[in-house]
Chain length 389, copies 2
């Protein structure tokens, strides 16, 4: 068992992340804000740019990813597919507007400041995809997952994740080969949408059968093991189908939510999510480099100004998209739920930096906008929460 | 978030390990054997030497280690420290005899076959340390953790783990510097025993305080997060004090078992252990290379014969040590509980191979003996289980 990774130091980082997440989460909750904001702040403080106690290593990354996959599985378990379908058209409208508006705004702003078209394309793409993790967690804390608004945001965020991956494959294709591949984009779109539909359509009867087979055994932990294994397999399949693991885990949860053991699975998954999901939010917070955000340092200012502009464009684009929702819903709440950016935005930015499409300053500005939209969402959702929820 | 590790493929291996562990565990349980035997067999089948679906990678290793650390934490939660103290002398006698007898037997056998003294020392050391993971899991499945026999085995296995680390530091010192360092051995012994005592002595009041502080908050999952963070911190501290993380996690569990929230913590830790611990047993099984165990291949035979001899010496040494237990107990059950070897044995063997103290054939023989003792234990314990349990 001689390995390159230092397990003890990962256990230490894991423990610190949990403690920090809960201490900051409790403080923030006492101030009336969603706990996840505290978990993100814990990450900033524990992360490399402040205390340096929580490393951005392979080990912490794996724990964080397991956390977010299981979180989306849990959110799926709490989702009623019929309700989700009922808001389907509305969610599609919100998702589409929520990609087009920030993309256009960020593109025009970047071009207007004299940057190249490729640079502006990366910036636009980075600001177009909503991070479902943050929103799902806040909706869950506000007990708003089950409302019409919550379902619309969830539906739109899932569609948005799929669209984001399509845009990613297009932009990555342009960066790699220098040509825009419509075929490649269509292929990714078809694959990932097809997988999502298949996962739910096949997943529902499969989930029923799984629960029946598992009911016959006396081995400890069979139901939870089989359910989590199912979620992990669909998450892996989603990745293979050029979609994202979290989208697959969500679909697996939606499928198992139709079984009669739904609550037993939820109860068992709960503590696992309690332990692993905070590591994801701490990890996201730890990625914030506070040094480049210091306005007292003169050379940070141009990037911070661009970042401020991108934050406003990015915020308004998603927020206004919420007003494309139909029916008797609080549109501002839906818009706010679409605001946070996360992994996909960071992937775009990193890819842009690596291929030199993004100058260092623009890269920092995009990061600042991604983080600002993430940190502003929990209090905003709390403020705009509809009374019915 | 661009990382070297491929998260999707780790999720796939994780899912397969869970499914394999449960399917094989269920089959084996239907045959009246402890399910953990099935989980080990699942590892052999999924591992690199048969199907090659479960890799021995950094990612699966980390998940396995989290699993065994949380398993020992759970076992600690089920342990009554007063009962453990009542069997303390008896456990110390069993542990000491259980190190001396297999060490002497394996040393003499290896020397008798004409190998060097250093080679024989490595072989003896590799066969001297009990693997607490397997035994604890079987005791838990047999509901024998709480019996006098179970407590003696647990106590002896913990002492044994500490002694094993002392032997490891001595042997590693010899291998590195070519000299036997009595001072280094004493230092390791003092450190790791001191840490264990401190962890429990300080851990008990700390655990009470932790539960009290946590009771004041409304943040979701606070008790379980704080408890697991506590376990991970003590596990990390144990490693820093030259002991093993699993010993620290066990001590943390023992400390929290004294609090009034013991059952709430146990209930929440249960599903996490259900998901992560099987990966540990699958990992151990996956380390078995069935090719070198094939007696039809002529060149495997000398190593297999030596392995058979070492298995017998290793088995008898631990089994007879059980008869050093005091009081009205089933000594054969205690002896059987001490039989399985695991990580520490594998570390010795790998270290011996790396420093060329062990020729390839002897290395294979040691591995065969380590695995044979591991696989024979679950059915043996099941057979010898005292009626009182």
């Amino acid at each position: 068992m001689a390995h390159r990774i230092d397990v003890a130091s990962i256990l230490f980082a894991f423990a610190l992340a949990l403690l920090g997440a809960k201490v900051f989460g409790d403080l923030v909750a006492r101030m009336g804000q969603p706990a996840v904001l505290g978990e993100l702040l814990a990450g900033v403080v524990l992360g490399p740019s402040v205390l340096g106690l929580f490393p951005l290593s392979d080990g912490t990354f794996l724990i964080a990813e397991i956390g977010v996959v299981l979180l989306l599985f849990e959110v799926g378990l709490e989702t009623d597919i019929e309700k989700l379908f009922r808001v389907g058209g509305s969610a599609l409208a919100v998702a589409t507007a929520g990609m087009v508006l920030p993309f256009a705004g960020a593109y025009l702003l970047t071009r207007g400041l004299g940057y190249e078209a490729l640079t502006a394309t990366y910036v636009g793409a980075a600001l177009s995809a909503t991070s479902i993790g943050i929103t799902a967690r806040v909706l869950s804390e506000l007990k708003a997952l089950d409302t019409r608004e919550g379902q619309t945001v969830l539906g739109a965020a899932v569609i948005d994740d799929v669209l984001g991956l399509v845009v990613l494959s297009v932009v990555a294709g342009v960066a790699e080969k220098g040509v825009l591949s419509v075929g490649g984009a269509l292929r990714t779109a078809l694959f990932s949408i097809g997988f999502l539909v298949l996962a739910v359509v096949i997943g529902i009867p499969l989930g029923h059968r799984l629960v029946r087979v598992v009911g016959r055994t006396s081995v400890r932990g069979m139901l939870i093991s089989a359910s989590v294994a199912f979620a992990l397999l669909v998450a892996w399949g989603a990745k293979k189908a050029e979609s994202a693991p979290i989208v697959g885990a969500f679909a697996a949860g939606v499928a198992l939510a139709r079984t009669n053991r739904r609550h037993d699975i939820e109860n068992a998954v709960g503590p696992i999510v309690d332990i692993f999901a905070p590591v994801f939010f701490v990890y996201v917070g730890a990625e914030v480099d506070v040094r480049v955000l210091n306005p007292a340092v003169a050379e940070n200012r141009p990037a911070l100004l661009l970042g401020l502009g991108l934050t406003m464009v990015g915020f308004l684009g998603k927020f206004l998209a919420g007003f494309c929702a139909w029916g008797n819903v609080r549109r501002s709440f839906i818009g706010a739920g679409m605001v946070p950016r996360g992994e996909v935005g960071l992937i775009f930015a990193s890819l842009g930096l690596a291929t030199k499409a993004l100058p260092e300053g623009v890269f920092v500005a995009v990061l600042a906008a991604v983080f600002a939209t993430t940190f502003v969402t929990p209090p905003l959702l709390k403020m705009l929460k509809p009374r019915t929820a």
